[in-house]
């Protein structure tokens, strides 16, 4: 692929003076440099800042070194644990409902039909809309006074609710919004997975006399198991990354009832102005997300596939 070595020996390629061996490094250099400066350096910086008690508006030079105190404080900080608990509850409800709805709908509607592309276009719209706009739309719909949801519930005899002003109802509201936005995503990737299954296996199971339920439970679902796992992990990571919709919809309130971990970090840093302590909590978030990402990598690194040279 590269220049023909002078003496026709493969070792010639390894000589440091052979410039062509350096070409790949020139190609990856800009991207790697930007990712190091814009992603890796900030993460290291978050570690570093977590050892200092730095408040917004003060000079970092004056910030006292506090060692591991932020981390020990975190262990007994009810607010941190509460936001983790909110995140896990949010993840549990949204992901299980989205997976259930998305997978069932995909199984029912997987057969190719005329006009499928129109429907698919519609289903990806919620994912393309800016999270800020999603938050604004649903804040309007859930509005206690003029919200459309209260109006239609009123028609079937349900009293108007102050959706975003009550802890349980606000939690329900963010779960509901997330389900609206993300169920189509699960639906689409599961359909893609089902349609990519080799038809011979499916035919064989039909010929063997498997009924509809057996066919789904013992043939189809096991075959798309890895897709389901990856979708699950991706959604779980999203739950830990999410904050924009909640920031607009509820701001984390009332109280801390809808304050997911990411939003908690943000509020800590820029609302209560404890930059150092917020960094310490974000170290915890990095650890969680990295573990989940490693899970996805273990499921199969697409950049290391077998077809590779």
């Amino acid at each position: 692929m590269t220049d023909i070595p002078a003496h026709g020996t493969p070792t010639a390629l390894k000589r440091p003076r052979d410039l062509s061996a350096l070409v790949p490094y020139f190609f990856i250099l800009p991207a790697v440099a930007i990712m190091l400066a814009g992603l890796v350096y900030p993460v290291i910086q978050a570690f570093y800042l977590s050892f200092y008690d730095w408040k917004i508006g003060t000079d970092f030079q004056d910030a006292p070194y506090v060692g591991l105190r932020h981390f020990t404080r975190m262990l007994t900080d009810e607010n941190v644990w509460e936001s983790i608990w909110v995140t896990l509850r949010f993840g549990f409800w949204t992901i299980s409902i989205e997976m259930f709805l998305g997978v069932s709908l995909a199984l029912l509607l997987e057969k190719p039909i005329r006009g499928a592309s129109v429907f698919r276009t519609i289903f990806i719209l919620p994912l393309m809309v800016s999270p800020v706009v999603v938050g604004l739309i649903w804040r309007y719909l859930f509005d206690a006074r003029i919200g459309w949801i209260n109006y239609y519930l009123g028609l079937i005899g349900i009293e108007p609710q102050v959706w975003l002003g009550d802890a349980d109802l606000a939690f329900f509201a963010i779960v509901f919004t997330d389900i609206w936005q993300w169920t189509p995503f699960i639906f689409i990737i599961v359909i893609a997975g089902l349609q990519a299954l080799p038809s011979e296996v499916l035919e064989a199971s039909k010929i063997d006399g498997a009924n509809w339920w057996q066919h789904i439970l013992f043939v189809k679902l096991p075959m798309i198991r890895s897709i389901l796992m990856i979708a699950l992990l991706m959604r779980l990571i999203d739950v830990f990354r999410a904050l924009e919709v909640m920031y607009i919809l509820t701001g984390g309130g009332p109280g801390r009832s809808t304050e997911l971990l990411s939003l908690h970090i943000y509020n800590r840093a820029f609302d209560t102005q404890q930059l150092g302590y917020a960094s310490a909590i974000s170290v915890l978030l990095i650890v969680i997300v990295t573990l989940l990402s490693l899970g996805i990598l273990r499921m199969g690194n697409p950049m290391k596939d077998k077809s590779d040279i």
């Binding site: 990856i28 990712m35 814009g38 990806i124 994912l127 800016s130 893609a192 990411s262 978030l285 290391k304």
Partner: protein, 279 residues
Amino acid sequence: MITKQINNPLHVWGHYGALIVLALVTLAPIWIMVVTGFKDDVLVQQKEPVWFFFVPTLENYEYIMTRGKFDRYLWNSVIVGVWATFLTLLFGGLCAYALARTEFRGRVLVANSTLLVRMVPPAVLAVPAFAMVIKFSLDADLAVLIFFYTALNLPFAIWLLFGFYKQIPVELEEAAIVDGATPLQVFFRVLLPLMKSGYAVAGIFTFRIAWNEFILALLLTGRTSRTLPVGAAGFITDTGVEWGRIMAMGTLIVIPPLLFTFFAARQIIAGMTAGAVKG
């Protein structure tokens, strides 16, 4: 058995019926935003929802365009989106090419780390980014935002483009090399033309994120460098809760992503499913 089911009219109608219901549920909130943007204040404040029939007004749009700093926000968003997309595609493309086509020490390390940093949460970046801006006394400048959006998008773009490069047969490049082309010529003359759709997908995803991103934009921009989502969120506090104007602003923000969706739905779905289905 399968063909029977498809021809059974009951099944077909049930299938379409279910899809139509789902599509309406998906579309309803977006539609409500669009119509609310065209309602006057009396109609917005009215408790009984109006879906279709009313006298539309442009007063919300007029207010946004003339009183707000809409033109400024729009310009900022366009600049940030276009630059972040350009840089991501340029550098991400080169990197993906090297990972897919060449063998070098550290290749697997770079590939794995790229996938690992893809998920860095924006909340984790928030404080350090804020600190970096202070430390290196960077102004609240669009360049800072462009830089972070490029960094955030590179991992996904590299990974996506890597997959596209892998699909192109190596023989094409080998033939070009035999004909005496340099590596750069191979890249620009042979591969790029075949990579159009890959770059389109990566470009749409990058632009969408740069266009929609809110938290970093909120932190890293000043009064004159705000982007559209920050401007829209500002409507909540700036003017009380003026739903007509907010929804008009939301509609304007959603237009570009919506256009992408209608013109490139197939590519977007390919990008979304690539991770789960191929992996």
